[in-house]
Symmetry: C2
Subunit: 303 residues, 2 copies
Amino acid sequence: MFEVTLVGTGGMMPLKDRHLSSMICRFKTKNILFDCGEGTQISLQKIGWGFKSIDVICITHFHADHVSGLPGLLHAINHSGREEELIIAGPVGLKKIVESLLIIARGLSFPIKYLEIESEENSITIGELTIKSLLLEHRVPCLAYKIETHRQGKFDIELAKALNIPKQFYSELQKGNEIIHEEKRYTPNMVLGTPRKGFKIVFCTDTRPIEEIVQFAEYADLFICEGIYADDDKLEKAKEYKHMLFSEAAHLAKKANVKELWLTHYSPSLSNPEDFIENARDIFENSHTGFDGKSTVLKYEKT
Amino acid sequence: MFEVTLVGTGGMMPLKDRHLSSMICRFKTKNILFDCGEGTQISLQKIGWGFKSIDVICITHFHADHVSGLPGLLHAINHSGREEELIIAGPVGLKKIVESLLIIARGLSFPIKYLEIESEENSITIGELTIKSLLLEHRVPCLAYKIETHRQGKFDIELAKALNIPKQFYSELQKGNEIIHEEKRYTPNMVLGTPRKGFKIVFCTDTRPIEEIVQFAEYADLFICEGIYADDDKLEKAKEYKHMLFSEAAHLAKKANVKELWLTHYSPSLSNPEDFIENARDIFENSHTGFDGKSTVLKYEKT
């Protein structure tokens, strides 16, 4: 199962009841955090997630509302006694920005590995997860991220029996591990079918609704996308600041054939996004407003 | 009247219900913020204070929990449309640190004036307030701050009458302004007695309980002081990390003859400081635990 939780859903400025836009997900033992604006360490505590075991932090871009919580979070992770390497990924310039912020959090007990994503060809593999990115259209270089899980083919028990593979190895072969036993070699491809559809989750903020997002988010199980303004009459403002409207996010969701859309990164002036959800649902029915702490658990379909 | 509010009372790491140690005060139209850890802009919203009109931000030192909220707060102030200069004061190195943090909040619409406090002789005068500082004993250079108000002498109405000063000028003279009317000159010292005792508030964190604090805080109306650990059995830890215990803060309060002590900057491990208040009260009776949002309004004594 794949757990996704919105840590915060505010854009530009945190409000007392709406922290800055951030998302965390967990798959098996791996924890990936997306964006880290001011207060993210507080929001993580509020939603009951620890931060000691975060494996990767993916930063979309270097505006304060997406990155200013890094020194505090790294300081808190340090305080938890972590020693293992932490990966931080982001657009080119990442190392300089983070090291500049770390002027107030020196002497961390764990190493940081910086991954500056120069092209969309770069991807991050962590456990059974792959993280890919897409260059968006914002006022500064900004990346959308897509997390995909690899799901192996179905275990063919009849085939395993026919091949006289001892039962005690079924589980390891199912996990993808090779077995050598009594000079015989059993490999997963002997008993596993073609890979099945894994999970696909996209985190997409801040940007204008460019066409490339459609392909990037195609058939995603969950498309988390900014909707800074609810009303279409804010289109000019959205264009000026390179953001998007509820309706624009919904159009992307529809074109990309995603299963579900969660809106996030609201303007501080938008007090109650839920009042405007129809602006998205009229276009893409399975649209939902994100809120701090909104969470879901995705499960593989039985195939 | 002089309004003092604790914005946050946590040390090292914010908790979901306890933001990082910070204090704000207002006297007439002037607003002074002391420290600005991560989330200060959220805590200020929670306690109902705006941040557009902050005149001075005094930073005690450059550990993350005291300064990491600056980029976000300045970004939010910027968003409010401020154009007036903002003063930021702190230990030597301030400009370099703040500019390093501002890598993620470029293009502010208002100028910043940096005051690097090189010696305790430096003081800041803002309106009728004077802010003085004291070098503390922490792991890095760290300053306590003392805010004092200037209170003029009492207006001697009988004397004003005897000097035939027209009644319409009483108010201006009382405010300390000189009047020239029909070729006559009326000065405040003609009708005001010797200056009266103003307010004195001290904000003192992070430090060992050095003797210099006693003199610095002498007769303060309010002594806001760190008490990172409640129990005396944490003395060695307090010494190692250069902090102080409830009892040490209380000893300082007693020796300095302050009116009232508020404890703040608690360790994240100290869940309920109030359970331990007797550790301070046994030494100095008018000791109180600070909490986020604790507030008081001081009024001049009638003299």
